[in-house]
Amino acid sequence: MRLEKLPAAMAKRLAELECPDFTTTPWVEAKPLSERRVAIVSSAGLVVRGDKVFRGRDADYRAIPDSTQANDLLCSHISINFDRTGFQEDWNVVFPLDRLRELATEGEIGSVAATHYSFMGATDPVQMVDGAREVAGKLKADNVDAVLLTSV
Protein backbone atom coordinates (compact mmCIF):
# COMPACT_ATOMS: atom_id res chain seq x y z
CA MET A 1 0.00 0.00 0.00
CA ARG A 2 1.30 3.41 -0.88
CA LEU A 3 0.36 5.15 2.35
CA GLU A 4 0.61 8.55 0.69
CA LYS A 5 -2.59 7.68 -1.17
CA LEU A 6 -4.52 7.62 2.11
CA PRO A 7 -5.68 10.60 4.19
CA ALA A 8 -2.78 11.62 6.41
CA ALA A 9 -4.48 10.64 9.67
CA MET A 10 -5.29 7.14 8.44
CA ALA A 11 -1.80 6.65 7.00
CA LYS A 12 -0.27 7.71 10.30
CA ARG A 13 -2.50 5.37 12.26
CA LEU A 14 -1.59 2.42 10.05
CA ALA A 15 2.12 3.23 10.06
CA GLU A 16 2.19 3.60 13.82
CA LEU A 17 -0.12 0.71 14.68
CA GLU A 18 1.16 -1.06 17.76
CA CYS A 19 3.06 -4.20 16.78
CA PRO A 20 4.98 -6.66 18.91
CA ASP A 21 8.68 -6.06 19.45
CA PHE A 22 11.10 -8.85 18.64
CA THR A 23 14.72 -8.70 19.71
CA THR A 24 15.88 -11.41 17.31
CA THR A 25 14.81 -12.66 13.91
CA PRO A 26 14.72 -16.44 13.45
CA TRP A 27 15.85 -17.84 10.11
CA VAL A 28 15.46 -21.38 8.82
CA GLU A 29 17.61 -22.39 5.86
CA ALA A 30 16.03 -24.91 3.54
CA LYS A 31 16.24 -26.49 0.13
CA PRO A 32 15.62 -24.87 -3.29
CA LEU A 33 12.16 -23.52 -4.01
CA SER A 34 11.58 -26.12 -6.69
CA GLU A 35 11.70 -28.77 -3.99
CA ARG A 36 9.61 -27.03 -1.36
CA ARG A 37 6.08 -27.78 -0.27
CA VAL A 38 4.18 -24.49 0.06
CA ALA A 39 1.23 -23.54 2.27
CA ILE A 40 -0.75 -20.33 2.54
CA VAL A 41 -1.29 -18.81 5.96
CA SER A 42 -3.58 -15.81 5.76
CA SER A 43 -4.63 -13.23 8.32
CA ALA A 44 -7.75 -12.31 6.34
CA GLY A 45 -10.21 -14.08 8.63
CA LEU A 46 -10.93 -16.65 5.93
CA VAL A 47 -13.34 -19.49 6.69
CA VAL A 48 -14.67 -22.39 4.70
CA ARG A 49 -18.40 -22.01 4.17
CA GLY A 50 -20.16 -23.83 6.99
CA ASP A 51 -17.21 -23.49 9.38
CA LYS A 52 -17.40 -21.15 12.36
CA VAL A 53 -16.91 -17.57 11.18
CA PHE A 54 -14.56 -15.25 13.05
CA ARG A 55 -16.88 -13.12 15.17
CA GLY A 56 -14.46 -10.58 16.55
CA ARG A 57 -10.80 -10.48 17.46
CA ASP A 58 -10.63 -14.25 17.86
CA ALA A 59 -7.16 -15.65 18.57
CA ASP A 60 -7.71 -19.11 17.07
CA TYR A 61 -7.42 -20.19 13.46
CA ARG A 62 -9.30 -22.02 10.74
CA ALA A 63 -8.04 -24.82 8.51
CA ILE A 64 -8.65 -24.58 4.77
CA PRO A 65 -8.20 -27.95 3.03
CA ASP A 66 -6.55 -27.98 -0.38
CA SER A 67 -9.79 -29.41 -1.78
CA THR A 68 -11.68 -26.20 -0.90
CA GLN A 69 -13.52 -24.72 -3.86
CA ALA A 70 -13.50 -20.98 -4.55
CA ASN A 71 -17.24 -20.81 -3.87
CA ASP A 72 -16.68 -22.13 -0.37
CA LEU A 73 -14.21 -19.56 0.92
CA LEU A 74 -15.56 -16.55 2.80
CA CYS A 75 -13.84 -13.57 4.39
CA SER A 76 -15.03 -12.82 7.92
CA HIS A 77 -12.34 -10.30 8.86
CA ILE A 78 -13.79 -7.81 11.32
CA SER A 79 -12.26 -4.74 9.65
CA ILE A 80 -14.20 -3.09 6.85
CA ASN A 81 -11.41 -0.68 5.97
CA PHE A 82 -9.87 -2.73 3.21
CA ASP A 83 -11.05 -3.63 -0.26
CA ARG A 84 -13.10 -6.81 -0.60
CA THR A 85 -14.05 -6.45 -4.26
CA GLY A 86 -10.76 -7.96 -5.42
CA PHE A 87 -11.41 -11.09 -3.37
CA GLN A 88 -15.02 -11.13 -4.51
CA GLU A 89 -13.92 -11.10 -8.13
CA ASP A 90 -11.01 -13.54 -7.77
CA TRP A 91 -10.11 -15.44 -4.59
CA ASN A 92 -6.45 -15.60 -5.69
CA VAL A 93 -6.12 -11.92 -4.77
CA VAL A 94 -6.11 -13.03 -1.13
CA PHE A 95 -5.80 -16.81 -1.24
CA PRO A 96 -3.69 -17.70 -4.30
CA LEU A 97 -4.30 -21.43 -4.31
CA ASP A 98 -4.84 -21.63 -8.09
CA ARG A 99 -1.54 -19.82 -8.65
CA LEU A 100 0.34 -22.16 -6.31
CA ARG A 101 -1.07 -25.17 -8.14
CA GLU A 102 0.09 -23.69 -11.44
CA LEU A 103 3.54 -22.99 -10.03
CA ALA A 104 3.75 -26.59 -8.83
CA THR A 105 2.77 -27.86 -12.27
CA GLU A 106 5.37 -25.60 -13.85
CA GLY A 107 8.06 -26.84 -11.47
CA GLU A 108 8.67 -23.46 -9.81
CA ILE A 109 7.72 -24.97 -6.45
CA GLY A 110 7.77 -28.57 -5.36
CA SER A 111 4.18 -29.10 -4.26
CA VAL A 112 1.18 -27.52 -2.56
CA ALA A 113 0.26 -28.30 1.04
CA ALA A 114 -2.74 -30.45 1.91
CA THR A 115 -4.09 -27.81 4.28
CA HIS A 116 -3.81 -24.04 4.54
CA TYR A 117 -4.70 -21.82 7.51
CA SER A 118 -6.24 -18.48 8.37
CA PHE A 119 -6.13 -16.22 11.40
CA MET A 120 -7.99 -13.02 12.21
CA GLY A 121 -5.51 -10.26 11.53
CA ALA A 122 -7.17 -7.68 13.77
CA THR A 123 -6.33 -9.78 16.82
CA ASP A 124 -3.39 -8.83 19.03
CA PRO A 125 -0.63 -11.02 17.55
CA VAL A 126 0.63 -11.94 21.00
CA GLN A 127 -2.63 -13.82 21.57
CA MET A 128 -2.01 -15.87 18.42
CA VAL A 129 1.18 -17.47 19.69
CA ASP A 130 -0.39 -20.72 20.81
CA GLY A 131 -2.44 -21.05 17.64
CA ALA A 132 0.57 -20.26 15.49
CA ARG A 133 2.68 -22.90 17.22
CA GLU A 134 -0.13 -25.42 16.74
CA VAL A 135 -0.33 -24.52 13.05
CA ALA A 136 3.44 -24.88 12.75
CA GLY A 137 3.17 -28.41 14.10
CA LYS A 138 0.47 -29.27 11.59
CA LEU A 139 2.48 -27.75 8.74
CA LYS A 140 5.52 -29.78 9.67
CA ALA A 141 3.40 -32.93 9.86
CA ASP A 142 2.38 -32.15 6.26
CA ASN A 143 6.07 -31.70 5.34
CA VAL A 144 5.54 -28.04 4.50
CA ASP A 145 8.80 -26.12 4.28
CA ALA A 146 7.63 -22.81 2.85
CA VAL A 147 4.77 -20.62 4.03
CA LEU A 148 3.35 -17.71 2.08
CA LEU A 149 1.89 -15.33 4.64
CA THR A 150 -0.77 -13.06 3.21
CA SER A 151 -2.45 -10.18 5.01
CA VAL A 152 -5.15 -7.76 3.92
Binding site: W27, R84, I109, R133, V152
Partner: protein, 239 residues
Protein backbone atom coordinates in the same frame (compact mmCIF):
# COMPACT_ATOMS: atom_id res chain seq x y z
CA UNK B 1 1.15 -10.97 9.92
CA UNK B 2 4.86 -10.37 10.36
CA UNK B 3 4.49 -11.57 13.97
CA UNK B 4 3.13 -14.88 12.68
CA UNK B 5 6.30 -15.15 10.60
CA UNK B 6 8.33 -15.04 13.80
CA UNK B 7 6.19 -17.65 15.52
CA UNK B 8 6.30 -20.07 12.57
CA UNK B 9 10.00 -19.65 11.92
CA UNK B 10 10.71 -20.15 15.63
CA UNK B 11 9.08 -23.55 15.24
CA UNK B 12 11.25 -24.37 12.23
CA UNK B 13 8.83 -23.47 9.43
CA UNK B 14 10.35 -21.03 6.90
CA UNK B 15 8.03 -18.26 5.78
CA UNK B 16 7.81 -15.15 3.68
CA UNK B 17 5.24 -12.45 4.41
CA UNK B 18 3.55 -10.28 1.83
CA UNK B 19 3.44 -6.92 3.56
CA UNK B 20 1.01 -4.19 2.58
CA UNK B 21 2.09 -1.69 5.24
CA UNK B 22 5.85 -1.35 5.09
CA UNK B 23 6.37 0.51 8.39
CA UNK B 24 4.64 -2.35 10.24
CA UNK B 25 6.96 -4.90 8.63
CA UNK B 26 9.98 -2.72 9.39
CA UNK B 27 8.93 -2.59 13.04
CA UNK B 28 8.17 -6.30 13.40
CA UNK B 29 11.27 -7.47 11.50
CA UNK B 30 10.00 -10.74 9.99
CA UNK B 31 12.64 -13.07 8.54
CA UNK B 32 11.55 -12.21 5.00
CA UNK B 33 8.86 -9.95 3.58
CA UNK B 34 7.88 -8.61 0.19
CA UNK B 35 6.30 -5.19 0.41
CA UNK B 36 3.69 -4.67 -2.29
CA UNK B 37 2.28 -1.26 -3.30
CA UNK B 38 -1.27 -2.57 -3.77
CA UNK B 39 -4.32 -1.30 -1.95
CA UNK B 40 -5.34 -2.88 1.33
CA UNK B 41 -7.23 -6.11 0.72
CA UNK B 42 -5.24 -7.09 -2.38
CA UNK B 43 -1.97 -8.68 -1.25
CA UNK B 44 -1.50 -10.60 -4.50
CA UNK B 45 -2.53 -7.70 -6.75
CA UNK B 46 -5.06 -7.44 -9.55
CA UNK B 47 -8.04 -9.80 -9.74
CA UNK B 48 -8.17 -11.90 -12.88
CA UNK B 49 -4.53 -11.37 -13.86
CA UNK B 50 -2.86 -14.72 -13.28
CA UNK B 51 0.48 -13.70 -14.82
CA UNK B 52 0.79 -10.63 -12.59
CA UNK B 53 -0.27 -12.59 -9.50
CA UNK B 54 2.34 -15.24 -10.23
CA UNK B 55 5.06 -12.61 -10.52
CA UNK B 56 4.14 -11.39 -7.04
CA UNK B 57 4.18 -14.90 -5.57
CA UNK B 58 7.46 -15.86 -7.24
CA UNK B 59 9.05 -12.61 -6.05
CA UNK B 60 7.93 -13.40 -2.51
CA UNK B 61 8.85 -17.08 -2.46
CA UNK B 62 12.17 -16.27 -4.12
CA UNK B 63 13.22 -14.52 -0.90
CA UNK B 64 13.31 -17.97 0.70
CA UNK B 65 16.40 -18.70 -1.37
CA UNK B 66 18.42 -15.75 -0.09
CA UNK B 67 21.09 -16.19 2.53
CA UNK B 68 20.49 -15.30 6.12
CA UNK B 69 19.91 -11.66 6.94
CA UNK B 70 18.73 -9.87 10.05
CA UNK B 71 15.38 -9.13 8.43
CA UNK B 72 14.92 -8.99 4.69
CA UNK B 73 12.26 -6.68 3.28
CA UNK B 74 12.17 -6.40 -0.50
CA UNK B 75 9.90 -4.16 -2.58
CA UNK B 76 7.70 -5.29 -5.45
CA UNK B 77 8.18 -2.69 -8.18
CA UNK B 78 4.87 -2.62 -10.03
CA UNK B 79 1.54 -1.07 -9.14
CA UNK B 80 -1.78 -2.87 -9.51
CA UNK B 81 -3.14 -1.98 -12.97
CA UNK B 82 -6.67 -2.61 -11.70
CA UNK B 83 -6.46 0.46 -9.47
CA UNK B 84 -7.01 2.44 -12.66
CA UNK B 85 -10.72 3.09 -13.28
CA UNK B 86 -12.37 1.34 -16.21
CA UNK B 87 -14.00 4.16 -18.23
CA UNK B 88 -16.27 1.66 -19.94
CA UNK B 89 -17.72 0.16 -16.78
CA UNK B 90 -21.30 1.07 -15.97
CA UNK B 91 -22.91 0.16 -12.65
CA UNK B 92 -26.24 -1.65 -12.65
CA UNK B 93 -29.26 0.63 -12.69
CA UNK B 94 -31.00 0.81 -9.32
CA UNK B 95 -34.15 2.65 -8.26
CA UNK B 96 -33.45 6.08 -6.78
CA UNK B 97 -33.58 6.24 -2.98
CA UNK B 98 -32.58 9.88 -2.57
CA UNK B 99 -33.39 11.19 0.87
CA UNK B 100 -35.61 8.25 1.82
CA UNK B 101 -35.75 7.37 5.51
CA UNK B 102 -37.43 4.83 7.75
CA UNK B 103 -40.08 2.72 6.05
CA UNK B 104 -39.50 4.34 2.66
CA UNK B 105 -35.79 3.52 2.82
CA UNK B 106 -36.58 -0.03 3.93
CA UNK B 107 -38.86 -0.45 0.94
CA UNK B 108 -36.25 1.05 -1.36
CA UNK B 109 -33.66 -1.40 -0.05
CA UNK B 110 -35.87 -4.44 -0.59
CA UNK B 111 -36.80 -3.21 -4.07
CA UNK B 112 -33.15 -2.64 -4.92
CA UNK B 113 -32.14 -6.11 -3.84
CA UNK B 114 -34.95 -7.58 -5.94
CA UNK B 115 -33.81 -5.50 -8.91
CA UNK B 116 -30.19 -6.61 -8.53
CA UNK B 117 -30.94 -10.31 -8.02
CA UNK B 118 -30.63 -11.25 -11.73
CA UNK B 119 -27.30 -9.38 -11.99
CA UNK B 120 -26.05 -11.08 -8.86
CA UNK B 121 -27.06 -14.49 -10.23
CA UNK B 122 -25.33 -13.67 -13.53
CA UNK B 123 -22.21 -12.63 -11.64
CA UNK B 124 -22.19 -15.85 -9.59
CA UNK B 125 -22.48 -17.89 -12.77
CA UNK B 126 -19.62 -16.00 -14.40
CA UNK B 127 -17.30 -16.28 -11.39
CA UNK B 128 -18.53 -19.73 -10.33
CA UNK B 129 -18.74 -18.40 -6.80
CA UNK B 130 -20.18 -16.00 -4.30
CA UNK B 131 -18.77 -14.57 -1.10
CA UNK B 132 -22.24 -14.11 0.40
CA UNK B 133 -22.74 -16.45 3.35
CA UNK B 134 -21.40 -15.08 6.63
CA UNK B 135 -24.86 -14.75 8.20
CA UNK B 136 -26.04 -18.09 6.85
CA UNK B 137 -29.14 -16.34 5.48
CA UNK B 138 -30.14 -16.03 1.81
CA UNK B 139 -29.68 -12.46 0.52
CA UNK B 140 -33.43 -11.74 0.46
CA UNK B 141 -33.71 -12.69 4.14
CA UNK B 142 -30.71 -10.50 4.95
CA UNK B 143 -32.57 -7.68 3.21
CA UNK B 144 -35.77 -8.31 5.14
CA UNK B 145 -33.89 -8.36 8.43
CA UNK B 146 -32.01 -5.13 7.73
CA UNK B 147 -35.24 -3.53 6.46
CA UNK B 148 -36.94 -4.34 9.76
CA UNK B 149 -34.22 -2.41 11.61
CA UNK B 150 -34.67 0.51 9.20
CA UNK B 151 -38.39 0.59 10.03
CA UNK B 152 -37.44 1.06 13.67
CA UNK B 153 -38.29 -2.47 14.73
CA UNK B 154 -36.05 -4.49 17.01
CA UNK B 155 -36.42 -7.90 15.38
CA UNK B 156 -35.31 -11.14 16.99
CA UNK B 157 -32.16 -12.67 15.55
CA UNK B 158 -32.95 -14.87 12.55
CA UNK B 159 -29.75 -16.83 13.18
CA UNK B 160 -30.05 -19.28 16.10
CA UNK B 161 -26.61 -18.79 17.66
CA UNK B 162 -26.16 -15.08 16.97
CA UNK B 163 -27.38 -12.07 18.93
CA UNK B 164 -29.59 -9.65 16.99
CA UNK B 165 -26.66 -7.23 16.78
CA UNK B 166 -24.21 -9.83 15.47
CA UNK B 167 -26.77 -11.12 12.98
CA UNK B 168 -27.24 -7.52 11.81
CA UNK B 169 -23.51 -7.11 11.27
CA UNK B 170 -23.19 -10.29 9.22
CA UNK B 171 -26.42 -9.66 7.29
CA UNK B 172 -24.98 -6.27 6.34
CA UNK B 173 -21.68 -7.87 5.30
CA UNK B 174 -23.64 -10.26 3.10
CA UNK B 175 -25.70 -7.49 1.53
CA UNK B 176 -22.58 -5.48 0.70
CA UNK B 177 -21.12 -8.56 -0.97
CA UNK B 178 -24.40 -9.18 -2.82
CA UNK B 179 -24.57 -5.65 -4.21
CA UNK B 180 -20.87 -5.39 -5.08
CA UNK B 181 -20.87 -8.78 -6.77
CA UNK B 182 -23.86 -7.64 -8.83
CA UNK B 183 -21.64 -4.78 -9.95
CA UNK B 184 -18.82 -6.93 -11.33
CA UNK B 185 -20.69 -8.74 -14.08
CA UNK B 186 -18.74 -7.02 -16.84
CA UNK B 187 -15.79 -4.72 -17.33
CA UNK B 188 -12.90 -4.25 -14.97
CA UNK B 189 -14.05 -1.69 -12.40
CA UNK B 190 -11.62 -0.45 -9.79
CA UNK B 191 -12.52 -0.81 -6.15
CA UNK B 192 -13.01 2.96 -6.07
CA UNK B 193 -15.61 2.80 -8.84
CA UNK B 194 -17.52 0.03 -7.10
CA UNK B 195 -17.30 1.81 -3.76
CA UNK B 196 -18.47 5.10 -5.22
CA UNK B 197 -21.50 3.33 -6.66
CA UNK B 198 -22.33 1.46 -3.46
CA UNK B 199 -21.95 4.42 -1.12
CA UNK B 200 -23.21 7.26 -3.35
CA UNK B 201 -25.94 5.70 -5.45
CA UNK B 202 -27.53 2.67 -3.80
CA UNK B 203 -30.27 2.31 -1.22
CA UNK B 204 -28.00 -0.07 0.68
CA UNK B 205 -25.34 2.62 1.03
CA UNK B 206 -27.92 5.11 2.29
CA UNK B 207 -29.43 2.51 4.63
CA UNK B 208 -26.07 1.70 6.20
CA UNK B 209 -25.31 5.35 6.90
CA UNK B 210 -28.67 5.62 8.68
CA UNK B 211 -28.29 2.37 10.61
CA UNK B 212 -24.76 3.26 11.65
CA UNK B 213 -25.94 6.53 13.13
CA UNK B 214 -28.97 4.99 14.84
CA UNK B 215 -26.97 2.15 16.36
CA UNK B 216 -24.20 4.44 17.58
CA UNK B 217 -26.71 6.52 19.58
CA UNK B 218 -28.55 3.44 20.84
CA UNK B 219 -28.42 2.51 24.51
CA UNK B 220 -27.69 -1.09 23.49
CA UNK B 221 -23.94 -1.61 23.87
CA UNK B 222 -23.92 -4.51 21.43
CA UNK B 223 -25.51 -2.37 18.74
CA UNK B 224 -22.99 0.37 19.39
CA UNK B 225 -20.19 -2.15 19.06
CA UNK B 226 -21.29 -3.53 15.69
CA UNK B 227 -22.21 -0.11 14.25
CA UNK B 228 -18.52 0.61 13.73
CA UNK B 229 -18.44 -2.17 11.14
CA UNK B 230 -21.20 -0.91 8.85
CA UNK B 231 -19.49 1.92 6.95
CA UNK B 232 -15.77 2.16 6.08
CA UNK B 233 -13.99 5.09 7.71
CA UNK B 234 -13.44 6.83 4.37
CA UNK B 235 -17.16 6.62 3.54
CA UNK B 236 -18.70 7.84 6.78
CA UNK B 237 -20.88 10.90 6.18
CA UNK B 238 -20.50 13.78 8.64
CA UNK B 239 -23.34 14.04 11.20
Amino acid sequence: MSALAHYLEDEGVPSVAIALIRPQAEHTTPPRALWVPFELGRPIGPPGDAAFQKRVIVAALGLLETRRQASLIADFPDDDPRETPDPGWRPPAVPAADGAEGTALAEALVAELRELAPRYAQSCTARLRSTVGLSGLPPAECGDYVAAWLRGERPASPVPDMSPALALRFAIDDLKAFVLEAGIVSGAPSSRQLGDWLWNDTALGAALQVLRHECLVSDDERLKAVAAFFVPALRVLPD
